[in-house]
């Protein structure tokens, strides 16, 4: 039994780079050309180019996202869009949103000396919202842009939307303050910054598309603002 496991271990050691099942009994090593066809999307090697970033690159991009009026994000990431940033920003946001939301309801209930139970639905709800938003909206935008013949790479759009959500992390942390007006101001500012970031970076790209660019840019601006409002309403509206 142990012998079999050791042999299996060696087999997996050779295949540290790929995670695909061997096709037809042949042994895919990292030297062979990757398999053809549809199951390439399930190998790790297909996605490696999108994770080719160093820590300093990520920190640079995060800082870029905090200055929405520069509009240089798309240029900087045109040749090397990454998916690390969007994925982990979303995941961090889910955790921060769930924990801050829980904390806020906890404080509100304790202040009024009422019973409080942990609401696990906060986690699942925020996961659905954030992952869904960053996946679906860029996909739709990609299709729309293709239709208006100003094609943008799909990964660039994922990258843009992912980093645009970064500003919500400090905004959510600041929203712990129990002043209603303060929370609305924070939500507004964060939503505005995030929406401007997306809009300006896209505007530079699709200016060449012709007359419809203004509509598209305004549309996505409003959509991002709507996300900020939805977040504020769901996470911070406490009924005790």
């Amino acid at each position: 039994m142990v012998g079999v496991m050791l042999v299996a271990n060696d087999y997996f050691a050779i295949e540290a780079d790929t995670f695909s099942k061997p096709a037809g009994g042949s042994q895919p090593g990292s030297g062979e050309p990757q398999g053809s066809g549809w199951f390439r999307t399930f190998t790790i090697a297909a996605y490696k180019p999108y994770f080719d970033v160093d820590t300093s690159d990520i920190i640079d991009r995060l800082k870029e996202s905090l200055f929405p009026f520069r509009g240089t994000f798309t240029e900087k990431t045109a040749t090397n869009p990454d998916l690390y940033g969007p994925f982990w920003i979303c995941t961090t946001l889910i955790f921060v949103a769930a924990s801050i939301g829980t904390f806020v309801t906890y404080i509100a209930h304790k202040l009024k000396k009422k019973e409080w139970d942990y609401d696990i639905n906060l986690v699942t709800w925020s996961a659905g919202v954030f992952y869904g938003y960053v996946t679906v909206v860029p996909l739709i935008l990609y299709v729309i842009l293709k239709y208006f013949s100003a094609p943008s790479g799909l990964v660039q759009l994922f990258c843009l939307y992912g980093y645009s959500l970064f500003v919500f992390i400090p905004a959510l942390c600041l929203s712990v303050v129990p002043l209603e007006i303060f929370r609305w101001v924070i939500a507004g500012v964060a939503g505005f910054m995030s929406a401007t970031f997306v809009a300006l970076n896209l505007k530079a790209h699709i200016n060449s598309a012709g007359e419809r660019w203004f509509l598209i840019v305004t549309g996505i601006f409003l959509l991002q603002l709507a996300l900020a409002v939805v977040l504020k309403l769901y996470l911070f509206t406490v009924t005790v």
């Binding site: 142990v2 050691a13 490696k48 999108y50 160093d54 690390y84 995941t91 829980t102 906890y106 139970d117």
Partner: protein, 141 residues
């Protein structure tokens, strides 16, 4: 070293135990708590390993799953203690200590697997997962 003889029974046991402990501590929605905890830990281990592989690191997939599972042991102990305690401050201290212990256990393996310039990128998700489990432990009462 011991890593070559990876197995998944240990991690499976620790994940289920942690899910059960959190579920027992919860006063409502017990089965949902177990489901979320189990999914978070199992999917988290897989995603963390994929993350390292995608960043160009050199690890073996199942070795990494095995190690991440075994490193949950301190958090299991912490969750057990928190189940029997009710004082929030004490729970926070216990969770912080066990969290630090778990991270300290997982750090050498994860940091040696990737390039030096990407070390923080590989370690941050590990930290995030343990912190979220720790938070779940404190919040459930």
């Amino acid at each position: 070293m011991a890593l070559r003889d990876w197995d998944l029974w240990g991690p499976f046991f620790f994940i289920v135990f942690l899910g059960l402990t959190l579920s027992w501590s919860a006063s409502v929605k017990k089965s949902e708590v177990f489901a979320v905890a189990f999914a978070l830990l199992a999917a988290g281990a897989v995603i963390l390993t994929l993350n390292v592989l995608l960043l160009g690191g050199h690890i073996v997939f199942f070795q990494s799953l095995s190690l991440l599972g075994y490193c949950l042991f301190p958090l299991d102990v912490g969750a057990l203690i928190c189940m029997m305690e009710n004082n929030v401050i004490l729970k926070m201290i216990v969770v912080c200590v066990t969290l630090a212990w778990s991270s300290w256990a997982a750090y050498p393996f994860m940091s040696s697997a990737v390039n030096l310039s990407r070390k923080a990128l590989a370690l941050y998700p590990v930290f995030l997962m343990y912190v979220s489990v720790g938070f779940l432990t404190i919040a459930i009462d």
